[in-house]
Structures are given as C-alpha cells and as structure tokens.
Amino acid sequence: MEVTLLIQATDDSFRILEDAKSRAKELLDSASILEDARKQAKGLLDCTVGVTSEARQMEKQKIQAIFKGAQETKSGFQNFIATFSLLFVFWMLLSGKFDLFHLAIGVICSATIAYLTHDLLFANVRIGETWVIVWRFIAYMPWLTSQIIQSNMHVALLALSPRMPVDPRILRFRTKLESDISWVTLANSITLTPGTITMDINAGEFFVHALDQRVADDLHAGEMEDRVAHIFMEADHIYIQDALDVARIYVALRKWG
C-alpha cells in the first residue's frame, strides 16, 4: 500500500531528523562555533523537536482514542430506534408466526432489550448516516465471497501439490482506518480469506500471518482496505496535518543541506 511507503518515508525522515537533532546538540555544545552557525543549529533543533514530538503525540492519542472504542453518543434516541428495528427484523426472521400475539411479544422483547443495551450496538457510528453504512455493508458481502472462493482454490492447489510450496511469513502494517469497528471488519475479512490470519492488533499495527508470497501481495495491494474504508466512509479526505508536517521537514532539510 502506498500508505505503508509513506509511513516508511516518514519513519526515515524522522530518523534523519533525530540524527540532525543530535548533531545540532553537539554543535551547540562545542565551544568554537560562529554565531550564525549557532543560530542555524538552534533553529533546526526547534523545528525538528516541534515536528517529531508533536506528531508522535498526536498519533499516540489517535490510537488510544480508537482503542477506547465507544465515544459519547449525543443521540441515544436514534440509537434506540435503530437497535429496536434491527432486533425486530431479527425476531421476525427467527419466528415464522405473524399472528398478533407473537408480534406483540416481539415488540415488547425488542423494546426492552433496545432500551437496556442501546449504547452497545451503534456506539461509534457518525450520526445520521447509519442506513448508508448498513446498505454499503450488505453490498460488500458478494465481493468478499468472491475473494474467499479465489483464495480457497489457490490454497487448495498449494496444499494438494506433492512438494507443498508454502512460504509462511508474518506481515506487519498500519492502516488508514479510523475507528474500531472498521479495524475489526478488516481483521475478520483477512481471517475469513483462506491463506491469511490476523494474529494481533498491537498499538495500531496489524500482525498478519500469510502462507505465500502471492497471498501477501494481494494483501499489500490494499484493495480490501480501500473497500472497508469505503463502507464506513473513512479516509476519504486529505489530512492537512500530514501535509504541514511534510512541508516543515522539507524546509528543515533544505536549510540544513
């Protein structure tokens, strides 16, 4: 994914900036430097300290916010109505009887459970766009099924050939998704597709075990992640903070060399 390359590029530039920071400190400490060199080194030090620590702080806060999960929901009533309707549809699917007595019992049971657990089901969804997300989720299923069938045939071919050319490896990557339910959808889709298993999500990084180079390449191309981001309407805008950080790093590097 191009995001992985971007993260690697920013990692490299962070490392360059750390080196620049230490060198600027040495320059400041040594006694025999000219005044403008000292000023230049100080300027570079302020610039780099500002960029690295603040960007890392923001990223850590973002990951902690995602892990916390449920945000404060401002409209409990809309959550209640959505939960009630989903539960009532589920009740009608389960019980095939449509006479008044059973429908009344269904309404009472769904209303009670929706009242008691209204902050559980739709905790992280943006208000007002619940039905679009539900419809897009339903439309995602056929594509996932076709991916499962393709990977199934590839893994069956691998397992049934006499010399079994498996090449297991563990991948480690970050994603551009922003909320816990989209992380879980991506992790479950990766696990459902034969050939890859999500082992852990640790501090914002996915650890995925893959069977083969071709399966790992399918994952790195990033199509599944783009589709999951399209379901939950995330990562479809430009982060202005990233652009500002890159601009500052560029200016600092130009001043230095």
């Binding site: 589920f90 009740w91 657990t117 089901l121 479950n188």
Partner: protein, 154 residues
Amino acid sequence: MIRSSEDIIVRTVSRILVPFIQLFALYVIAHGHHSPGGGFQGGVILGASLVLLLITYGPQETRRHISEKSLIAFGSLGVIVYSGIGLICLFLLGNYLDYGKLSGLLRVVPSEARSLGILGVEIGVGFTVMAIMFSIFFDISSGGKPPDDEKNNP
C-alpha cells in the same frame, strides 16, 4: 479479579453480539411450547450473554448495564411470578397452579388460559435462572472478594 480484555477484536465483536444473544434467549422462552426451549434454556442463554459481557469488558462496565441490586431483584422477581400465578389459581377456588381457573380472569377459553399460564411461569423461571447463573460465575471467578470501586476504598 477479572480484568477487561486487551484485544480490540474480542471487545468489538462481543459488544455487537450481546443484544442479538439476548433477543435469541427471549425468543427461546416465548416459543417454548412448539419449539425446543422453555424457561430454563432461555435463562441460561441470557446468563451466558452477561458472562460474555463480563469476561470481555470487566466488572465495572458490566455493572453499568446490570447492577447487583437489580440482579437480586430479578432473582426474587422470578420466584414471585411463579408462586404468584399458583396463588392466584388457589384464590380462584382451584388447586395450586391449576391454570384452567384463570380463564375467568383473562376471559379466554380454558385451554388458552392454560397456555398463557405456562408462558407466565416460564418467564419467571427465566428471570431467576439468568440472575443465579451470572452471580454464581461472578462469585466463583472473583474469589469471593468484592470488586473494588471508589466507595469501598478507604
């Protein structure tokens, strides 16, 4: 002392599943007379949903959804419903738990009254079984120590 799970996949999946598990449990209770199920089975599934909430979110978050006072209330409510129906049948000049005598009260045919009486009794059984299952699990797994919160700490 039960800690909340640090795995985000387990936490998210269990918080989405719990309402559906509880609805399935109420479906099993309500359709006890022409599908496998009944009061005890539905109560066990309700208790299992609360146990799932406990092992993935920890005791503090679970107590927001069902406090210990309401747990004791549910346990007693089930017994009151069960014996209450039996006593009403006794007051209407029948035997204990003779549901046929409820037909005068509910204005239906006696066979329909027996069906509704059994449904009421199953609901009572379900409440009690849910409360007792959850409190047995909680007491055994926390080792008998009360969960520490702000009121108990000196």
